[in-house]
Symmetry: C2
Subunit: 518 residues, 2 copies
């Protein structure tokens, strides 16, 4: 028995394209005499159609594409895909097994106790078809008697990469793969809006990966189940810290590339401050878009240290990226002069700091507008937690590349990028973080240590520990109070921040929904 | 039997304050020998606690406040409130009837068929306690036999004002009020983040309102059910268009006032362009915050017509609001000079237009930062639909006052504000809308007629008509294609726009969740 697995990203707004991708993969499967092509979950209808499902233009089209796909099937190659609609157009998500021009089986999304109904005979084997959600997987594991009757289990999936959960996903798959003689896992792969779909589709025989497709990239694989040749390939998610940072790196590169592809935009603009964040975003952008499509802006002020300009220049030159230097001083002075009636003689303060950041935001956006590009935002999650950033200033942009990464993860990425040679100047990695909006400013002047912020907020968001519990767990009382107070009172900033590429199960403003005023 | 009803806005982050408000109202009820105080839904725990419910610091505190409240009750005055937690701290929303220091009844949120379990005997009467959701209300109506045994029905509620649904809410209440001898409706009142809770709590006897509390404002009312004195008061939601615009006006004033109260901020800053939107926001802000707390900025450019400056000045002077004039020309010129290496000789275009809007955004934000204020955003829903606005420019601000109002509603508000005397210069209302970002520009140069935009998008969002259906319904094909294309491709702008005061059931980005790329 030859099985083929397809992985790709399927968009809800691109039904024709989705149809064509599935059809092309099916044609290849037929050509290679595969007995079955397994397509990821939400392939035909697109990943997360959201509000579109309420429109008949969308649902009718899905139903129409679905019929067309089924009609194209030949007798000896089953096409396995899912759809949110029954053939009659009514909403009723199911896995479809089609061959010989007909829907042969339609397997609805069932609770665990109904799993026996998911088992279908095809090509002389008992095959279980199911979605790969935590519940379904656990459901299957709770039915060992059923599993004994199954020759093959097929799981359809579409899930985004979550660095903190990826190990668990692999473990769950590994456990399942050991309960059945063979297992097929087909997951969507690639960037969709801010999410990066895992991919890593696989076929296991007797618990060993016989076929393993890559993370994040479109691919189609084939495995002859009866040949034992390819067996024993290792699971792809690396054990080492550096290896895992590499997967995270690839996820972000894919996220940027596909965000731009979906936007229909080629060029990216970003500010280069010589700080760690922009110094990590630049190489990611270059890998995703090509160096010719990335434009750096250096926007030094009276408060910029000489080394930050030098570091930014060195970085741009290491990557051979075109950059322009636009000093903000003349703009800053003109603003101060024009604002004289409002500012009067109030002295330097937050307004003057934000002003500089917003002048830079305006320069970046003007450059993006003029070149038809999108501004890449460089804020990280530790800053977002504390509201350390200026709305419409450094918080501008189409997509926040590092918005779901703590500062420590940004440093790990920097080291990973530099693993073979120094691309990011060492100074960017070793110097103390600074917004450089006032003389000699350091982030640590107004924030606790970034490692402490991360530990506190992880315990708060991941383990749901509140103030009292955090202090009881040994965290410094003042730091806890400061971080939580900053976190809650800056919800308003996060609501207007650019969407961030998601790489964790605790993405701000999407996994949490806190009151604006609490 | 004397019944008291309390209405107010209760915040999830202010449990002590919520407790005190309920306690104070209960003390007054006891003093006035009321048999029962009915408190709106989610009063103790606060309206929409969202993510807070996952934290034991929050849930423990709610449970503790709940016990404390119950212990304070005396034998002859029942306290009726709801809570998301059972006394043991487990999550189990219920209506509590407490007196004599104990929970006497705990009535869970039941499906319609279990309504008989919601009927409790108190003070010699059969009283039905329920939440006022569409389902529950319909559920009650479907049980006429039950209703015949009920002497009094008590509905707890907390819902935001939706101009397009308010008539239905009143009708539903009126219908219910005619099915039972007496009915109590207690709803939260006041602004909560971007939502404005209706209030309008009432007591009906034989279908007639015997007590009617105001829209949006905190209040406590009393009614002696056995005295027929006050009966026959009319329902408060006006029949006339002007009357309804008045309610909408009051909702927005309440929304602004409470948003600032919750932010702990007194001062508002807004740009005055002489256009209809800012000309409507200014009087609303003055009514909400007082004229001394509102600062107007006139920021004319080389493209501003003389009348737009004159109209803005006249408006500010009519309202006696302090304003400053900061011409953007020197800033615009300095930006163009600094951007020369990027702009080169590309000619005037979108980048130059956005630049002007973002200079204004920067001036507004700088003024807000310096004066400790919040920028009021003046975008309307028709513009938001079409993405007609500049991110970080005219789309800056803490709260979008008109963000959920179509242009036609903004004009209606203008006429309402001018109903007694001309506050908004007539010219602001009659002239053609223009962004004044290029010579002689009119909104109609790049957009279909605003009335047509509204009709198309209402049919699309409210009746879920897609492109094909809209054209079939007789809308101009090109206009439909243009509006829908603008709507979908500008989702990214709305994701970063300031939160808008909600006044409809079709608020953008909160009632809809469309893909970023479709």
């Amino acid at each position: 028995m030859i099985i083929s697995v397809l992985q790709d990203a399927f968009r809800p707004g691109a039904l024709e394209e989705n149809f064509k991708k599935i059809k092309a993969a099916y044609d290849k499967a037929v050509e290679k005499k595969a007995d079955m092509l397994v397509v990821p979950s939400e392939a035909l209808c697109g990943f997360e159609p959201r509000g579109l499902v309420d429109y008949s233009g969308y649902s009718d089209k899905v139903a129409q594409m679905q019929k067309k796909l089924v009609r194209k099937t030949v007798p000896d190659t089953a096409l396995v895909f899912d759809t949110p609609y029954a053939i009659d157009g009514s909403f009723s998500p199911a896995i479809i097994v089609a061959y010989d021009g007909c829907v042969q089986n339609s397997i609805p999304h069932l609770p665990a106790e109904d799993f026996p109904d998911c088992v279908v005979e095809y090509a002389g084997r008992n095959i279980l078809f199911s979605f790969f959600s935590g519940d379904s997987a656990v459901g299957v594991l709770s039915l060992p008697e059923l599993m004994e009757t199954v020759d093959l289990a097929v799981f359809l999936d579409a899930r985004c990469f979550l660095a903190d959960v990826e190990e668990k996903r692999c473990e769950m798959l590994d456990t399942l793969a050991h309960t059945v003689p063979a297992l097929v896992y087909a997951g969507q792969a690639g960037g969709q809006e801010t999410e990066i779909l895992v991919g890593a589709s696989a076929i296991y025989i007797q618990g060993n990966a016989g076929l393993q497709l890559p993370y994040f990239k479109p691919a189609q694989g084939f495995l002859d189940m009866d040949s034992r040749q390819k067996q024993g390939m290792p699971l792809m998610y690396p054990e080492s810290e550096e290896g895992r940072t590499g997967v995270l790196h690839d996820a972000l590169v894919c996220g940027i590339a596909d965000y731009f592809k979906q936007s229909g935009v080629k060029k990216a603009v970003l500010g280069l401050s010589g700080g760690i964040d922009s110094s990590v975003v630049l190489p990611l952008a270059v890998e995703a878009l090509g160096r010719a499509n990335v434009l750096g802006l250096l926007m030094p002020s009276r408060f910029s240290s000489r080394h930050s300009v030098e570091d930014a220049v060195a970085l741009a030159e290491n990557l051979q990226v075109y950059y322009e230097t636009i000093p903000i001083e003349p703009l800053y002075e003109t603003f101060l002069r024009q604002l004289e009636p409002v500012f009067k003689n109030s002295g330097f303060g937050l307004a003057e700091e934000n002003l500089q950041a917003r002048i830079r935001g305006n320069l970046l956006m003007a450059t993006a507008n003029k070149t038809g590009g999108i501004v890449l935002n460089t804020t990280n999650k530790s800053e977002a937690v504390c509201g350390y950033g200026t709305l419409y200033g450094d918080l501008c942009g189409g997509i926040a590349v590092l918005g779901d990464l703590y500062k420590s993860q940004v440093y790990a990425l920097a080291r990973y990028i530099n693993r073979k040679k120094e691309i990011i100047p060492g100074n960017c990695i070793t110097k103390a973080p600074s917004a450089e909006l006032r003389p000699g400013q350091k982030d640590s002047d107004s924030l606790p240590d970034y490692d402490l912020i991360e530990k506190i907020i992880r315990a708060h968001l991941e383990q749901k520990r509140d103030e009292k519990e955090l202090i009881r767990a040994g965290f410094d009382k003042n730091a806890v109070k400061q971080v939580l107070s900053l976190f809650y009172k800056n919800e308003y900033k996060r609501r207007q921040a650019p969407p961030a590429l998601r790489v964790s199960s605790t993405a701000l403003c999407s996994d949490f929904d806190f009151p604006l005023f609490s």
